[in-house]
């Protein structure tokens, strides 16, 4: 499967300007949250709740469970902002890692197992998303274009894992390719995405 295919040139260009409130913009807010600043926490909520809820719902499907996980994640942000270290990565990566991990852990838990059996094979990011501002739409478009610059196998490996919540072994069997191939396609795909978006730290 399309391993040798050529990818288009990365369309996003190098590090564009980041949306206020995401990426590094979150770090100073999180530092204030770490001091118990409730206003800063409200700003963190506003800057991240759409992404958190959106990705959790994409992975879990169920709106009620997604709301519950979103709530847990954001309260965990409040509780552990004292442990956020900007030298180790952006605030956005810190929050989104927490969110995605929770969603994936939940979907893989036994409780969710039955529901998951009934689920259709997960697809990519899809285009039915609610984006609220022009800037958000712009960011979404940029990420989408960068995803399109991946090879087919890179893109499928990344999206099945990330949006579908599958392990790399599951992805390998879904795509019928060796496990080692999937591991490297995930890595190469993320490297290409990173370079396209210009988000290297």
């Amino acid at each position: 499967m399309g391993d040798a295919e050529q990818a288009a040139d990365p369309p996003g260009g190098p590090a564009g300007q980041r949306r206020a409130g995401t990426g590094d913009g979150l770090a100073p807010l999180l530092t204030r949250v770490a001091r118990g600043d409730e206003g800063a926490f409200a700003a963190v909520y506003d800057a991240t709740a759409g992404q958190v809820y959106g990705v959790v719902r994409r992975v879990l499907r169920d709106p009620a469970q997604s709301e519950e996980v979103t709530q847990d994640v954001l309260l965990e942000v409040w509780r552990t902002a004292t442990r956020f270290d900007p030298r180790r990565g952006s605030g956005l990566a810190w929050v989104m890692t927490m969110a995605h991990r929770r969603a994936v852990d939940r979907v893989r838990s036994e409780l969710a197992a039955t529901a998951r059996e009934r689920r259709a094979r997960p697809e990519g990011p899809g285009y039915d998303t609610v984006t609220e501002t022009v800037e958000a739409r712009f960011e979404a478009q940029r990420v989408r274009r960068c995803l399109e610059s991946l090879t087919g196998l890179q893109r499928e490996s990344v999206t099945l894992a990330y949006y579908g919540g599958h392990t790399y072994r599951e992805v390998a069997s879904l795509l019928e390719v060796p496990v080692g191939t999937v591991k490297t396609r995930m890595r190469d795909g993320l490297i290409r995405l990173r370079d396209c978006l210009g988000v290297d730290q």
Binding site: Q71, W78, T97, T129, G165, T167, R169
Partner: protein, 252 residues
């Protein structure tokens, strides 16, 4: 399936996508502690993965923001693991509590807190109080929730509905919320009682329910072997219970 040492270096991609199972993830995280190149790579791939949610942004449900902000106000923050910014403030905030027990307990009761507080959209009704009172109220709730000996217990009322109590003997206080108790006419209200070996004491009126739930109520002056009881009384409250108890909750 066991991963060989050489395999570990190839897992940064799956790791950044949370595509490792628990066991593989644990092994790789231990590896990250020893392997600088993998740590660098995993970090930079995480940054890329963190942009993937841009494509699936969705408006969170109405009311979530108010619930999360209200709950945060009552949840004590964890102390930092390593010295760094914010530490002084955090140390000040946890003054008077055992530094070891607080984070562990905060974690242990986090589920309970969230249940109790998020059951409670009405906590967000700050207009009922002046800001200062509201903050003191939040602090009193947080004190019970994060007490080293905090326990949670839930009981069913005879007429339907539940009552959840988080209590601390060391604070001699409890936080009480209810869900879906039967509605009472406007002239009536639910009154809370503490019943101990020495008799029955008034513990205050339950606030009016919003969407079937009452905001957390703090009851202090708790004694050992007290039980919590609920009766329906005239809205202004009674000196002693005048109707049968719809709930008696033994405390741990």
């Amino acid at each position: 399936m066991r991963l060989s040492r050489g395999d570990l270096h190839t897992l940064a991609g799956p790791y950044a996508l949370d595509a490792l199972t628990g066991q593989d993830r644990d092994r790789f995280e231990r590896h990250l502690g020893r392997c600088e190149p993998c740590r660098q790579e995993a970090g930079s791939l995480r940054e890329a993965a963190a942009r993937l949610p841009e494509v699936t942004v969705a408006g969170p449900p109405e009311g979530l923001r108010a619930r999360v902000l209200a709950a945060a106000a009552a949840i004590r923050q964890a102390p930092p693991v390593t010295p760094g910014m914010g530490q002084q403030a955090v140390l000040a905030r946890r003054a008077g509590r055992s530094p070891v027990l607080v984070p562990r307990l905060a974690l242990a009761v986090a589920g309970g807190i969230i249940l109790v507080l998020l059951a409670v959209g009405s906590l967000a009704v700050t207009s009922q109080h002046r800001a200062g009172q509201d903050q003191a109220h939040s602090r009193a709730i947080a004190a019970v929730m994060t007490a080293p000996d905090a326990r949670m217990v839930t009981g069913h009322a005879t007429a339907g509905g539940t009552c959840t109590v988080v209590m601390s003997h060391s604070d001699r206080a409890l936080v009480l919320t209810t869900r879906k108790l039967p509605r009472l006419p406007a002239a009536k209200g639910y009154q809370v009682w503490l019943m101990g070996p020495s008799g029955v004491r008034k513990a205050g009126m339950l606030p009016r329910a919003h969407q079937g739930m009452t905001a957390p109520m703090v009851v202090s002056g708790l004694a050992s072997r007290d039980e919590v009881a609920l009766t329906a009384e005239p809205a202004a409250g009674s000196g002693h219970p005048t109707s049968h108890m719809i709930l008696v909750l033994a405390l741990p």
